[in-house]
Amino acid sequence: MRHTLAVLVENKSGVLARVAGLFSRRGYNIDSLAVGVTEDPTISRMTIVVRGDDHVLEQVTKQLNKLIDVIRVTDLSAEESVERELALIKVTVDANNRSEIIQIADIFRARIIDVAAKSITIEVTGNEDKILGIEQLLRPFGIKEMVRTGKIALTRGGKSV
């Protein structure tokens, strides 16, 4: 079972090491971790996708809460939330398949952000299934390089974590 945790932390150096260290030494598996500053510049927000049963999730949440620099932990899986991930994919192209690749990008409402003689770089945003979908379609053409941000998420409606 995968859970998406929104973790508000002090925006200080060393906090990422505290969180990452906690996960590794207690043997919890992180699928992805995205971090950035929030509307309050003293607070950063981490979106952590963690794999485990309810017992693991409970322990992860409690152990995170024990860190002095962690302000709040919310399990977004339990809440109605919107989730997105961004990926940049550099695909090998030639004159014959360029238009086909552009067509695939269009279907996924992805953007072409760099074009060269032998490559195209595509920016795609969406949930995990969508990213996986375009990746699978582009793979036969030859993916030279790919980078993903990891999932970020917000609760739906007026409520905040």
Binding site: V9, E10, G14, A17, R18, G21, R25, H55, E58, Q59, K62, Q63, N65, K66, L67, I68, D69, V70, I71
Partner: protein
């Protein structure tokens, strides 16, 4: 912030902060980057005890904290000084001991350059501190020290490390000490939820075979008298973890002694048969539970702990109560009624008669258990500090403790070499008490250099070396599970402990026959000097009874008596 400020260096501010925190003593060792701090200490009104190895500074601060309930303080220089603290910090972390460790660090502009005596001590101690700080500037030093003491001593207590680059100690600041801390990510729950307490009281009213399982958290929260009142009101027997020893009077009719691997048979039987287990300030350690699937199989479990992360970490808990032990027990006593436990108490009394702790004494060779009984007879109010190994278990079994903070031992980490410096710290904090370090000949040799410290500072602790010429606990396991193959556990003849004591200017005594045991104990106490007693004991005595690793705790067996 308080009103008036004063211009001073970081080093001077460091001293002022310690005064504001009422630090009466610190244990430390100087070094290059600490020169400004030690210069400020030269004419400061703060007691500093110079140890001979930084690890001893951390253990001494720990022993001081456990004996007094106050936060222990140690100080070491950058690099090797700081890394030498690591074992002491980890020891304090595992047993939730309030401690603030200060380290010097290379100047800020050299950080990360592999400078001389640089070590990333905040990185190294990340998993063994409750929190740690690398102080970014002199201005922030007072706030950070205030926070460090607050974090170390509240909630689930633990060590906090403050790493101070040299320039932080030489730069000037406008000093004022904050009145309070503002930590939005740190708000420990002290007061338990009243609904949970009422539910617990209901569970208690239904129980006929209750057991209270009390750990070190009861002592940390100063909740021993509340524990006594609670146990007597609901009429439930009490078993202690190793670090919980002293939280309940050992001679009380409801006392079951210690449980677990080397616990009493009746404590283990009681836990396995109880219908309600009330855990207070304990964490279901593997040395307590044995095979976890078989632990307390018939019991509903109530778990009282100040750390929510301990709830259901190792065992499934039916009713969690997050709060400090003292207040929660007081409240629970108010709402609870006496259990219908008369038959249960009777059954336990029968077990106590049928399965007592026992050993076979001898007229020729000194039995370790006999020494503990004699120390108890000579001075039952003593503070007993231990190293780690067989002697530690015998001390837990055969010295009957009346009061909290009189049994001090490295439970979680199991640190050999802890006892002697911790005894030194305990004696500094409680000079009114006789302090014994119960040691093995192996453990004592890990910290014996601190004889210089206790002699120089006239800290009269008594080291009782249980000298069997073996690393006894490992030897016992080799005997039982590795076909008597005593691989690298025989250390006989490593040193003459009497001469070692004398070389440092301490009193050295020796007992080789049972008849000499009591006289040397009395002589050591009467001398008022730092003393090492070399008790030459039965070489292959085993700690008994014992739960083999991986077995359920009621599969506890007597070991063959030698």
């Amino acid at each position: 912030m308080t009103g008036a400020t004063e211009r001073m260096t970081g080093a001077q501010a460091f001293i002022e902060c310690l005064k504001k925190e009422d630090v009466e003593v610190m244990f430390g060792y100087p070094g290059g980057v600490l020169l400004p701090i030690y210069d400020a200490l030269y004419d400061a009104d703060v007691r500093h005890i110079l140890v001979r190895h930084e690890q001893a500074a951390a253990h001494a601060a720990d022993g001081y904290a456990r004996a007094t309930g106050k936060t222990g303080v140690c100080l070491a220089t950058s690099g090797p000084g700081a890394t030498n603290l690591v074992t002491g910090i980890a020891t304090a972390y595992m047993d939730s001991v309030p401690m603030v460790a200060f380290t010097g660090q290379v100047p800020s502009f050299m950080l990360g350059n592999d400078a001389f005596q640089e070590a990333d001590i905040t990185g190294i101690t990340l998993p063994i501190t409750k929190h740690n700080y690398l102080v970014p500037s002199a201005d922030e030093l007072p706030r950070i020290i205030k926070e460090a003491f607050h974090i170390a001593s509240t909630g689930r207590q633990g060590p906090v490390l403050v790493d101070m680059p040299k320039d932080v100690t030489t730069d000037e600041l406008d000093f004022s000490y904050p009145d309070k801390v503002e930590l939005r990510g740190y708000k420990p729950t002290f007061k338990a939820n009243i609904l949970q307490i009422k539910k617990a009281a209901e569970e208690i009213s239904r129980s006929v075979t209750p057991v209270i399982y009390a750990g070190g958290g009861v002592i940390s929260s100063n909740g021993s008298s509340e524990l006594l009142a609670f146990a007597e009101k609901i009429m439930a027997p009490v078993t202690n973890t190793l670090t919980g020893i002293g939280s309940f009077p050992g001679k009380h009719p409801l006392s079951l002694g210690m449980l677990g691997m080397h616990g009493t048979k009746y404590a283990n039987y009681a836990v396995q048969e109880c219908d309600l287990l009330i855990a207070v300030g304990a964490r279901f350690d593997d040395r307590v539970t044995g095979k976890i699937e078989s632990f307390a199989p018939n019991a509903r479990i109530i778990h009282i702990d100040i750390d929510p992360a301990e709830i259901s970490k190792n065992v499934r808990v039916d009713l969690p109560i997050v709060g400090d032990a003292k207040g929660t027990l007081a409240n629970l006593t108010k709402y609870s009624k006496q259990c219908k436990s008369e038959d249960w108490i009777k059954k336990i009394s029968e077990w106590k008669v049928k399965y007592p702790l026992h050993y076979i004494n001898s007229d020729e060779v000194i039995k370790p258990q006999y020494i503990l009984e004699q120390i108890h007879a000579a001075c039952e109010d003593a503070i007993i500090v231990t190293e780690v190994g067989q002697h530690q278990m015998w001390a837990a079994q055969y010295f009957s403790f009346k009061e909290p903070r009189t049994f001090i031992t490295s439970g979680g980490l199991g640190t050999m070499g802890y006892g002697f410096p911790a005894a030194m710290g305990a004696k500094v904090g409680r000079p009114d008490k006789v302090v014994f370090n119960i040691a093995g000949d192996g453990s004592f040799q890990m910290s014996s250099q601190e004889l210089a410290t206790v002699v120089e500072n006239d800290i009269p602790v008594i080291v009782a070396v249980f000298n069997n010429g073996f690393l006894g606990m490992v030897r016992q396991w080799q005997e039982l599970f590795f076909d008597h193959r005593y691989s690298h556990t025989c250390i006989s003849g490593s040193v003459d402990f009497v001469k070692l004591a004398e070389a440092y200017g301490a009193l050295g005594l020796r007992a080789t026959k049972p008849s000499e045991v009591r006289p040397v104990i009395d002589e050591a106490i009467a001398s008022g000097r730092p003393t090492v007693i070399d008790f030459v004991i039965e070489r292959e005595e085993n700690v008994s009874p014992m739960v083999p690793a991986g077995a359920a705790i009621n599969e506890i067996m007597d070991l063959e008596v030698k």
